[in-house]
Point group: C2
Chain length 417, copies 2
């Protein structure tokens, strides 16, 4: 017997038939003798509808009321799934965030989970053999007694946090892909599904554009060491052997991964823009003069490259921002020209960031050097480089993205046999 959390997103519960299908997935695990807590999102489209209504009434809606409105979507799905489970003779009941409760911060619309009381869930398991169907995405700020929501993709975070609270053996994330791949299979036909990936690697992959899970939920899983299994919700429940090993990717502590590869995945993002500030005065405080105004304007600066000054007086400074913020960043910097002191701004929006991720890099030297060589052989120019312990990222011309990803995927031995 294991204790499981099963999470189903909006497309998996989009209509009554799919909710019935989810019930079969749950029943399979219950029949195999497991204790199960299910976390559900709103039926797909519902959250958007509710958000649109709030925005129609006021672009500056009260986030407390927004949360009261939007949290209703998950409430509906939880109740419906409980009914669907009872219909197939699985004992089940729904739980809303405030009923457990799932205590959160007061940051309405993007609240953080502070504390989950899992006692009632476990009591349901042990006293009544009952499946807990929990509304994801929502919680309560206990001091004010008001509903909160966790922000987009919050149901993943709910699922992981509940798994931590009830000490689940595993948190299964049912999604529209059957696992985490070494890179985007649409770009590299030879991309492979990984059986396992370490939390740190998944975190880098997720931040860098792989859209399988929310970054927040992976951080949470890492901190609480919750084993997360990403699998497909489109597999037919009756085709799955509950005692076998279903297709999917386990996100876990690196110690669980016997043979760690040097490189586990390649991520990329085309939504990047490059800004180079030419002949900036090379003196203390100039970085603050540049990045301060950008931060105030809520522009997320990513790769920053500053060369050592050649003339001792001025230097060039290059960084990237999301492509959507490119014009705004230019405006901010132009306005601050006199305070910063620079010659001119160059920029480009036809750039892409390619990242190579692998925990094994920590103990292997020269991993990045191999990449520089392989890309140079293909005539791909590298505009900027940043590195961390377990990844490095390269800024290149975006036309070369697919070529670069394929080249690196082969180079590090990730191609499917």
């Amino acid at each position: 017997m294991a204790r499981l959390v099963m999470k189903f997103g909006g497309t998996s519960v989009a209509d009554i038939d799919r909710i019935r299908n989810v019930a079969q997935h749950v029943k399979r695990e219950v029949d195999a003798g497991h204790q199960v807590a299910v976390v559900v999102s709103a039926m797909s489209g519902k959250t958007n509808e509710l958000v649109r209504w709030c925005a129609e009434l006021s672009p500056l809606y009260d986030p407390q009321e927004y949360d009261a409105v939007v949290a209703s979507g998950e409430q509906v799905t939880a109740g419906l799934l409980a009914i669907a489970l009872q219909t197939v003779e699985v004992t089940a009941r729904s739980w809303q965030g405030w009923q457990l409760p799932i205590g959160t911060s007061n940051a309405h619309g993007s609240a953080r989970i502070l504390d989950i009381n899992g006692d009632e869930i476990v009591k349901g398991f042990e006293d009544r053999g009952e499946v807990a169907v929990i509304a994801g995405f929502q919680g309560i700020h206990t001091e004010t007694g008001r509903l909160t929501t966790l922000g987009r993709g919050g149901s993943d975070t709910s699922a992981v946090a509940i798994a931590a609270a009830i000490k689940a053996d595993r948190c299964d994330i049912y999604t529209d892909v059957d696992g985490v791949y070494t890179t985007d299979p649409r770009v590299v036909g030879k991309a492979q599904r990984m059986d396992k990936i370490a939390f740190e690697e998944m975190l880098e992959l997720a931040s860098l554009g792989a859209k399988v899970m929310q970054v927040r939920s992976i951080e949470l899983a890492m901190v609480h060491n919750v084993r997360v299994f990403v699998r497909s919700s489109f597999d037919k429940p009756e085709d799955i052997d509950p005692h076998g090993t279903p297709p999917g990717t386990l996100i876990c502590d690196e110690t669980e991964i016997m043979e760690q590869q040097v490189v586990t995945g390649i991520a990329f993002s085309k939504d990047e823009a490059q800004i180079s500030i030419r002949r900036v005065q090379d003196k203390p405080g100039v970085a603050a003069a540049i990045f301060g105004p950008l931060a105030e304007s809520n522009i997320n600066v990513d790769m920053i490259v500053q060369n050592v000054s050649a003339d001792g007086a001025t230097t060039d400074l290059t960084f990237t921002v999301p492509a959507a913020d490119y014009q705004r960043a230019n405006d901010v910097l132009t306005k601050s020209k006199s305070q910063i002191g620079y010659d001119r701004i160059d920029g480009a929006t036809d750039v892409a960031k390619v990242s190579v991720i692998g925990i094994g890099m920590r103990s292997h030297a020269g991993v990045a050097a191999q990449a520089f060589k392989a890309l140079a052989e293909r005539g791909i120019n590298i505009r900027a480089i940043t590195t961390s312990e377990i990844k490095f990222s390269l800024l290149i011309e975006s036309a070369y993205t697919e070529l670069a990803v394929r080249t690196l995927h082969s180079l590090y031995g990730l191609d499917k046999a």
Copy 2:
């Protein structure tokens, strides 16, 4: 300054534009200096959609889960109206049943309100000048912590109960008609809107087919002496003088009505069927033998007429049931024929019940006799008669319904000048 409850039904909050319109109604009262609690239903159609989903999953759905699903509709409207109010600079917040709380019985799907804590509403009025926007129709069973709903039309009951809890001066029911009429204006063109009607009279009118308000909510208003004002939600908010007397009908204690008319209204219902059991044995226990099985089959028996036996051994017994239950009632009685002991059953579904209501009847003799005479003059045959202190009902052939209603409406001086 007065303290008001304003209740808006599903059609009044059917879309974002109508919710904005409701906000203007509320703002008008707030600007006039009143303390306001608003009770809202779900957007029209939403509750039906949620109910349908539950029923699709299982005709025998768990009523606890049904309540969790269905209560979400009012939650959405309450949050949206709070946003709409803030947009027009009215301080407001939403309250769900469990937040106040509104404590109810455990009868999921048709729970009774047991206790409302109005402290937070009043605190909002007095400390923050805040409008309370309360989700109608829902509550919480505090022992189990589960959501409950009050059954169809429950928002009227919520509104009256909240008015009682916060000692409101008046409970305004905004609906699609502009008040209570002496009879159905579609049948009698000369029907008049009443300025005032006593609780007891309204109770009779509501039970007898006038669909303005739920019977339960009027009972509650009578017990707690909550003055209820029925008015139209289609009046333009800007056309209403908050200090004037708007069109509508006040339902109140009879002592508030200076000059009580003998008859205040005529109600009628065509959804009736008549059953006559011929030559029933006239002995103790026979009524139980007839009505026991009907009650067990959940068939609501209304008018019962039993003549004094002529031969001392058998008698005829006539009663009415809802037309929809006619066949079922016949089947039940046929099955019990040997236990009951009777000759045969006659029946008719082409019958209608016409009722004349008025508190003044208590002190006026001969009111019913006038009706018998007037109907006889029109050739309308009376099949059965029942009377109570403040009303009498006549069973007639349904083809004569409109004629009878118009005749009685004129007879008792209710025609508009």
